[in-house]
């Protein structure tokens, strides 16, 4: 999903973020979020790390989950708040302006049944990814699930090449417009396993650039 480099551009315009991501993913982002939300059952406590404009949090809440959604950007949260109010789900979604590195002090152990996070890990540094995964393990109760979707590097060299070629013009455009870029997450599954999770399923998009990982807290210590 090379098109996600344009996310940086969209983040500078939170109000157009949803439309942009929808267009760039050719409408697939909705399906990805729907698949992620399926992991949550009614009545479960869900943490959405990096909720952005709240699309995924809304899907989880509409299935009956009790969602805590955190994001570092007050602008994104403003948009999310409008959407939550419009959907009348204020009682089920708590929005918090908070950094993922403050998860260690924000919630006690075992606070959640499911942790979801979409297109966030690619924004984090290696150290931050490790820190957040360790926190996810701490925050999940017994039988807790971790559900991640992110940009990854395709495994086959032919797809990697195709991904690079498709990405290049978008990378350049995004550089020019926003002076920023995104990187794919390297070894997402290995990192999840390394943090003490057992990967239950890992699916990749057609071009291999987007991965959806569902993992469960494993019994042995991390």
């Amino acid at each position: 999903m090379s098109t996600f480099v344009l996310m940086r551009l969209l983040e500078s315009a939170p109000r157009r973020y949803d439309l942009g991501i929808w267009l760039l993913s050719l409408g697939r982002i909705g399906r990805v979020h729907a698949r992620m939300a399926e992991q949550a059952q009614a009545g479960e406590r869900i943490l959405d790390i990096g909720c952005g404009t709240g699309s995924l949090a809304l899907r989880c809440a509409s299935r009956g989950g009790q969602v805590t959604a955190i994001d570092i950007s007050p602008q994104m949260l403003d948009v999310a708040r409008e959407k939550v109010n419009a959907a009348g789900l204020e009682d089920q979604i708590e929005l918090r302006e908070m950094s993922a590195v403050d998860l260690d002090e924000a919630f006690p152990e075992g606070s959640f049944d499911v942790v979801v996070s979409s297109l966030v890990f690619s924004e984090l540094s290696e150290d931050e990814q490790g820190f957040v995964l360790r926190q996810c393990r701490r925050l999940l109760g017994d039988g807790g699930r971790l559900v991640l979707a992110d940009e990854v590097v395709p495994r086959r060299w032919s797809l990697r090449l195709l991904n690079r070629v498709l990405r290049l013009p978008l990378v350049l455009l995004t550089y020019i417009l926003t002076q920023t870029t995104t990187r794919a997450v390297e070894g997402l599954e290995e990192k999840v396993t390394g943090a003490g999770f057992a990967v239950r399923s890992a699916e990749r998009s057609l071009l291999g650039g987007l991965e959806l990982v569902v993992a469960a807290k494993s019994e042995e210590g991390a």
């Binding site: 602008q75 150290d127 820190f131 002076q179 870029t181 990187r183």
Partner: protein, 392 residues
């Protein structure tokens, strides 16, 4: 493996392309043989900066934290919301530095003061942040001086070397982009084209201190469209809206037509070649480069019209403004416990003093007297993403 400290190829490439971000590995770097008392420094993750800082720290025993600033340099990232308290807190908490040293003192680059709130860092991590010198090369002297900065260490300079770096930053991409068509179809144009592009860039930035300048500070804000520019308005760094570049292009094409008429006609391919080269050159002339100087704000941003106001009754002389101002605009009277703006005309409106003042005694003011509360500046930086003005 750590990336190399000395890498001339990357130095050249990243200087030429420094308008683009070059992210590098974030996290903890050990310099020399640090122990539990060794100082801890922080910088951004712009690759070129990290190499320069590591070179400047050679010979010291210390830790360097590289914060995730999206590959952007310290000053730009701080002003643009990419190097804020969040990134500093993140690298403190995720790098494991707290287990390696017994003290809790973090030395930040002074130019991070526009983005990083020391109060927030302290509340969230227990680390006390100090703003060190502007330049990494002053760090050894700063340590020898017991963490006290001289006026010289606080000041942003714009020496010839730095000005030429900025010239290269603009001339390099502008000479690279049309190079392929030029090499294929108009090879004879390549050298004259490069000479003109690099010549204009080098002259403009090289001669910068002697060019007739735009007045700065409040006076500059009032005479925004007026005066003293004279012929310099046709040089790259003073033209925000491409008017000059179009003028130059039209003049250039006119001259080309006259030349063709005089020599009895040119071939179409020469005309097109010269036309394209002329376009690239006029774009270089028309680019708004005031933002690449530490003296002028970009002509594209409305904050160039703001001035800093000191609310005297709030000031208690804590002197943070004096510590973070990159132009030494402030002096603090230690007996009266009051700050004074002694060089307001030098102000570059970076906002560092407004963000850092513990008493909220400094505010940005528009020409009509309206002010912007410090909290707004802390939240949106100067005008991050246009959100502040829209929200007002």
């Amino acid at each position: 493996m750590l990336p190399a400290v000395v890498d001339p190829v990357k130095d050249v490439l990243q200087t030429g392309l420094r308008v683009l971000p070059f992210p590098t590995r974030t996290g903890l770097f050990r310099i020399g043989n640090p122990n539990r008392e060794s100082p801890v420094f922080l910088t951004c993750n712009f690759d070129l900066t990290v190499r320069r800082v590591r070179r400047a720290l050679r010979g010291l025993d210390c830790y360097l934290l590289v914060a995730p600033s999206r590959g952007i340099n310290v000053w730009c990232a701080a002003a643009g919301g990419h190097l804020t308290s969040n990134q500093v807190v993140s690298v403190i908490k995720t790098s494991g530095i707290s287990e390696l040293v017994d003290h809790r003192r973090l030395i930040l680059p002074q130019l991070a003061a526009t983005g990083v709130e020391r109060k927030v860092v302290e509340e969230r991590t227990g680390w006390r942040a100090l703003f060190g010198p502007v330049r990494a090369e002053d760090i050894p002297a700063y340590l020898a001086n017991h963490y006290k900065k001289t006026d010289e260490m606080r000041k942003v300079r714009f020496d010839l070397g730095e000005r030429l770096e900025m010239a290269a930053m603009w001339a390099f991409p502008i000479s690279i982009i049309p190079l392929v068509p030029l090499l294929i179809w108009w090879r004879w144009l390549v050298l004259p084209f490069l000479a003109v592009v690099w010549g204009i860039a080098a002259f403009t930035f090289g001669a910068f201190p002697w060019l007739p300048g735009r007045p700065t500070g409040a006076e500059g804000a009032r005479s925004e469209h007026g005066g003293r520019l004279r012929w310099a308005r046709y040089l790259i760094i003073f033209d925000p809206r491409l008017r000059a570049s179009l003028t130059v292009l039209v003049l250039f094409l006119g001259a080309l037509a006259v030349y063709a008429w005089l020599v009895g006609g040119l071939e179409w391919s020469s005309l097109i070649g010269w036309g394209l080269a002329g376009l690239a050159i006029s774009l270089l002339i028309g680019l708004d480069l005031t933002g690449s100087t530490p003296i002028y704000k970009s002509g594209l941003h409305e904050e160039r019209l703001l001035t800093v106001q000191l609310l005297e009754d709030r000031c208690t002389g804590k002197a943070m403004c004096e510590q973070v101002c990159p132009k030494n605009c402030y002096q603090v009277d230690s007996e009266l416990h009051k700050a004074l703006i002694v060089a307001g005309h030098e102000c570059v409106r970076c906002g560092a003093c407004v963000v850092q003042c513990p008493e909220d005694a400094l505010v940005f003011a528009y020409l009509d007297g309206r002010t912007i509360a410090p909290e707004e500046i802390r939240r949106y930086k100067l005008n991050m993403l246009g959100e502040r003005v829209k929200g007002a």
